[in-house]
Assembly symmetry: C2
Homo-oligomer: 331 residues x 2
């Protein structure tokens, strides 16, 4: 086990200076602090606090995801994680991040400097600096909806997108729909890519034709509907599968503008089952992601990583929630 003394010896400086560097003291230079932190990380140093299983300190890092209100995607995930962590008396810090934070400091440095012994990352994409650094981190880290190859310290938790999309296509197919459009989330997201592939696979499996013009990337916001719904309708879509409930709300608005009735003229299916889904008019048929279980599972995975169990992926089942926005195909 690497000690403060080892770091001091390697750098040829006093133990007290190393200690100051690790503990964020103000009376050493910024350069020296950085050198101490870099060396500590390189040598695989972990502080006593980080190893203390009695009161383990971990963080939930959040980038670009709403979580503060119960009707937002991240809320229940965080609650689920915290509930599971509380039973083990882990100290959980919820930290909203931003691009600046990621540019200013490396992931490992941030973790070490704050004595975090593990992290759960929400809303990050593969383009984020900290995610790019995860292929080499030694800090136990769980990512929602993103996968890092080969690093045994990093795990991925998410919902089974293949099964989720397949449930929706199967539902619409049974209702007689053949021309099914798919309005996806952002390009360059692992989840969007999985859902696109799942949609194509599932259409073929159900004997339907996945038409390229009916399969489009948008963004995970309602507003993206207006760019794609008009052409979906022009091309004769009788149902629109959406990659999130928020996208579905935009699609519902757009479809209404065209004077169409849901589900009489067109069926709409969402993804997530946010609280809003059941309150829409008509109530939204959707694919449920159990966000509380996602949080609990993320904790289990992180707990495993902390104890040397290298889980690469943990996927939860998706569930079809049938409400009023899907009905028999007209044609």
């Amino acid at each position: 086990m690497v000690t403060i003394k080892d770091i001091a010896n390697k750098l040829g400086i006093a133990v007290s200076t190393v200690s100051k560097g690790l503990n964020n003291a103000s009376d050493i230079s910024e350069e020296m602090r950085q050198l101490v932190l870099d060396t500590a990380i390189e040598m695989g140093y972990t502080s006593k606090k980080m190893k203390d299983s009695g009161n383990r300190k971990v963080c939930i890092l959040i980038e670009n995801m709403d979580y503060e209100n119960i009707d937002q995607f991240g809320y229940e995930i965080i609650v689920g994680f915290k509930l599971a962590a509380a039973r083990r008396k882990w100290d959980v810090h919820v930290v909203p991040t931003n691009l600046n934070m990621q540019t200013e400091e490396k992931y490992d440095t941030y973790m070490l400097r704050n004595n975090f012994s593990g992290a759960f990352l929400l809303g990050f994409t593969l383009h984020d600096d900290w995610v790019k650094q995860l292929n080499k981190t030694n800090f136990p880290t769980v990512l929602l909806d993103n996968y890092i190859e080969r690093n045994p310290h990093v795990g991925y938790v998410g919902t089974d997108n293949y099964e989720g999309i397949d449930l929706a296509v199967n539902h619409l197919c049974k209702l007689g729909h053949k021309k099914i459009a798919f309005l996806n989330g952002s390009k360059n997201s692992m989840v969007s890519e999985q859902r696109r592939q799942a949609f194509v696979n599932s259409m073929i499996k159900h004997g339907l034709v996945p038409e390229e013009e009916l399969i489009q990337y948008g963004y995970y916001v309602p507003d993206c509907a207006k760019d794609h719904v008009p052409s979906f309708l022009k091309k004769g879509a009788t149902a629109i599968m959406c990659a999130s409930d928020l996208i579905a709300t935009g699609v519902m608005t757009e479809v209404s503008k065209h004077g169409l009735k849901i589900p009489d003229d067109i069926s709409i299916v969402g993804f997530d089952d946010l609280p809003i889904a059941s309150q829409l008019s008509p109530a939204l048929t959707t694919i449920r992601q159990d966000r509380s279980d996602l949080g609990k599972s993320a904790f289990l995975l992180l707990d495993g990583l902390v104890h040397g169990v290298s889980t690469s992926k943990l996927l939860l089942r998706a569930k079809l929630i049938t409400r009023e926005s899907s009905g028999s195909a007209k044609y």
Copy 2:
């Protein structure tokens, strides 16, 4: 919650008869017992014993897998599961099964009659009767290396085969091998199919050509080597990737018969890292499946299913263990 009285009412028989049927009493007819059990399962009945979290009784069902000695594949999986279960005071029964058992009684009936509140299935294939029945079971069930679609009560635990095979191909590629053969396990196994696909993907990713004649299905026994190794050698393979350490032992024997030296003339890589791998001469380079962690993870997954957390898949990282059987390519 369905009670014994509900079952009695539905069948129009006495509560005592239902009780006898559920508890395997000898003084009712076999037909009546079957009727009671079938009705109980259909109505979703669970006994008090099954719900008693204080002393939950679960089983590990084993079909066609060696597990009694420490050098066999199933041994550490079972130990890992039992260790994790012991902490929660679960009562774990290890039950070797056979085709007769599966033909004589349905899976659900077997579980209910024995008051098991969950099961971990090892060594089963998708062709087994009990596995075929899993798409409808309500009993929390975890399968090693097999996946059941859509049923929220059933989960799959295994090692990440894609990453495992990719690690091996990457290792051989770095050593300069281009003509890499792959001797797979049995056809009609999900794991074999994943590994075949992973091998093809990984060869392409590394700029190598996956030649059809160098990719063959065998069986998970050493003996299958003699059917394929001669033609691999004739076609100029400089390395043979094997889907298990046992297959690799057969390949080593066969290669030696042809007067070739390992690794000077040909490299061999196994899969599993059974205890035998390090004892072979030369010691076998292989892809490690952490069997103890597989058992522990199976427990975690089953514990989740029992408490309503529907995990569909949990995959552990594979790890490359470099020993003496792999070396630089000759050509």
